[in-house]
Every structure is written in structure tokens, then in C-alpha cells.
Amino acid sequence: MNLEQMQSLWQDHSLKLEECISLNKRLLNEKQKEEQKSKLHNLVVSRTLEGALFFIICVALSKYIVSSWSLSAPVVSAVVLNVFAIVGLAGNIGQITLLNKIDFAKPIKQTLTDLIVVRSHNMQIFKLIMLSAPFYMAYVFLGYDIIYELDLYSLMSAETKIAFAVISLVFVVLVVVLITKLTPENRGNKIIDWLYREVSGEKLTHLLDEMENIDRAKR
């Protein structure tokens, strides 16, 4: 059988399917009532909850900054962490907007592009957390002030401050290297591929593979 014979067999199959298939309308009606449970709707719910969490963090940090306003290490730490929380909140709002705009009637390549952006969310959050790693002392300074009402920075010796600054600089270099390497094009590298699978899951790696398959004939 060649592809043309296959086409003619397919046409026969399509005609016969009209008689062979029956649609369970009762079940369809029941499922219709549950239509809200589509996979994308579940994602909108989880992004909304995540966005609410970022919003609460932003509000709490802003309240802390206003109430303790001074040029101290804990307040500067709160400002830095608030910037990250605002970026996270903006990312979630962007995701919810995009999820509501996704149209499965668009051409396949466009839908794939939109879905890749949606499914890359966990990777973006991971990158955001990684970017905050060089500022790890911000968590410590803020925590000490909230729990013990202590400005740890003012109690540190100059050597300790330099040591922590050096560690932060090392983190900056590592994070910059990791983030620049952490792109779909580098999935040939085992570590990057593993990170993509672990952080973003099989759904994203599958979509990226299919996007490569779309363009494959061009190469």
C-alpha cells in the first residue's frame, strides 16, 4: 500500500465512521457541566493562587518597609526581596492573561508557542529564585530583625562582611552562567535537559520537542 492508496482507504474509513460511531449525549451533557475543569482552567486556578501568595508577600514586605523605614540592612533587604516578589506577581498576572487568550483554533505553531510560554512558568520562577540567591543574606538580615529584632549587619565584623560579599559575588557568577545556559537550545547538555525535565516537567519538554519537529525540515 502506498500513501495514495492509504488516502483512499482513509476516505472509506471516514465515510463508514459516520455509521460506526455513536455519541453518548447523556454523558456529553454531564461532562459539559464540568467544562470548567479543563486543563487550562486548572492552570489559571493554580497561577491565581500563586499570584495571591506573591501579592501577600508584597503587601507584608511593603508594610514592614513603611513601619521600619531607615537606611538599615533589614529594610534594604526587604526592598530587595520586594522587588523579586513584584516580578513574581507580574509574571503570574502575565500568565493568567495569556492563559485566557490561548486559542486552540490558531495555527498549530502559534498555539505551540503560546503553550510553551505557559508551560515555561515553573522554569521562570526557578530562574527568579536563582537570581535571588546572591542576595541570600537579605533573607537572613530580614529574618533576624523580624524574629529577634536584631540588626545582624551592624553586629558583623568587617571581615565577616567581606566574606559574605565574596560568597555573594561567587553566587552572581554561578547564577549568570546557569541562567544564560538554561535555554531550550542547550537541552543537548545532560544537566540542562535534566533541569528542564525536573523543573518544568514532561509537558514542556514534549512541546519543545514538537516545536523542533515543526522546523526540522528547514535544516
Binding site: 500500500m1 502506498n2 500513501l3 492509504m6 488516502q7 482507504l9 482513509w10 476516505q11 472509506d12 474509513h13 471516514s14 463508514k16 465512521l17 459516520e18 455509521e19 460506526c20 460511531i21 455513536s22 455519541l23 453518548n24 449525549k25 454523558l27 456529553l28 461532562k31 459539559q32 467544562e35 475543569k37 479543563s38 486543563k39 486559542d103 486552540f104 483554533a105 490558531k106 495555527p107 498549530i108 505553531k109 502559534q110 498555539t111 505551540l112 503553550l115 514532561e202 509537558k203 514534549h206 512541546l207 520537542d209 514538537e210 519537529n213 515543526i214 522546523d215 525540515a217 528547514k218
Partner: protein
């Protein structure tokens, strides 16, 4: 639907949806059978496609044939559906209440060829499955290119590669 109130629009959309699904249920069957190897995934994928058809119905415009539009929605959902194949785990179970029931007896004379055809389609990657399904439906290369948003030459290359794979698999 400019002169209808909200509840009338909903009833009208519902009727249109049911009519559309009833008329083109074959598309649902062919896409789910091509993209899923077990009944449980097929049932889930059918539900997901129906949910997206309902959702996208508001934005449908008659620039496209309804079958082309439905194929696009179904293929987009199928490509994004991806699950690990668990056919082995489900082989002893059956779904009692299915959205689409299929009686193969009607096609007994072609049964083997059709099984062979679906087996071949199942082996392809998701994009090649989409290209082949549209090709088998009789869509021309420019229509397939528009549905995928790629060039006609890219479609042509994909079709010839699928032909080669088919000849190779047929021995």
C-alpha cells in the same frame, strides 16, 4: 448572534455545539485514536477536545471550513495533551461509559488495513501525525501549511519523509 439575549445565545451555542459534535464526531475519533494508544487516554483527550471546541466556538469565523477549524482545535489539543504511554497498565480494564463508542464490525472488510494504518500513524511524532491526518483528509499542501503556520516547502518535505517511513515500515 446580535438579536439574542444571553440565555438565548447560550441555548443557541449549545445547539450549535451539539450539532457540530454529532456531525463531525469522526474527526474526534480519528484524532484521539491517532494520538493515544489506550482507551483511558482517548476518553480524556476526547473530553479535553470537546471542552476546547466549546470554548473556541465563540471566536469561530467562517473564513475556514468548519471541518478545518475543528481539526485545528482537535490537533492543537492532542499535541499539547502528551502523556506517558500506560497501555500495559490499563490492558485489563475497560471503560463502561464512553463518549464515543465504535463498532469495528461495520468495517470488518478493511479491519486489518485500518489497524495497520493507525499503527503506522501512532509511530510518528505528533507534528508528522498532524501533517499526515490533514493529508489523508484531502487537504492540499497550502492548506496544511496554513494550519501549521509553516512554509509549503516544509510541508512537502515532511510528506515525502512520511512516505519514505511508510514504505520502510511496509517493508
Amino acid at each position: 448572534m446580535p438579536f439574542l439575549n444571553k440565555s438565548e445565545v447560550k441555548v443557541s451555542k449549545r445547539e450549535l455545539f451539539l450539532e457540530l459534535v454529532e456531525k463531525h464526531k469522526g474527526i474526534l475519533f480519528k484524532v484521539t485514536r491517532s494520538y493515544c494508544k489506550n482507551e483511558f487516554d482517548r476518553e480524556d483527550l476526547t473530553q479535553e477536545i470537546l471542552a476546547q471546541i466549546w470554548r473556541s466556538l465563540d471566536t469561530y469565523n467562517d473564513d475556514f471550513k468548519i471541518t478545518t477549524w475543528m481539526y485545528r482545535v482537535a490537533l492543537n489539543v492532542a499535541i499539547s495533551f502528551h502523556r506517558k504511554d500506560k497501555s500495559g497498565a490499563f490492558k485489563h480494564y475497560e471503560i463502561e461509559d464512553k463518549l464515543l463508542s465504535y463498532d469495528m464490525n461495520e468495517e470488518a472488510e478493511n479491519e486489518q488495513s485500518i489497524i495497520q494504518l493507525y499503527t503506522f500513524i501512532n509511530q510518528l511524532n505528533d507534528i508528522d501525525k498532524a501533517v499526515l491526518l490533514m493529508y489523508l483528509e484531502g487537504e492540499n499542501q497550502s492548506e496544511i501549511a496554513a494550519n501549521l503556520s509553516i512554509s509549503i516547502s516544509n510541508v512537502s518535505t515532511k510528506i515525502s519523509r512520511i512516505k519514505q517511513k511508510f514504505q520502510h515500515s511496509a517493508g
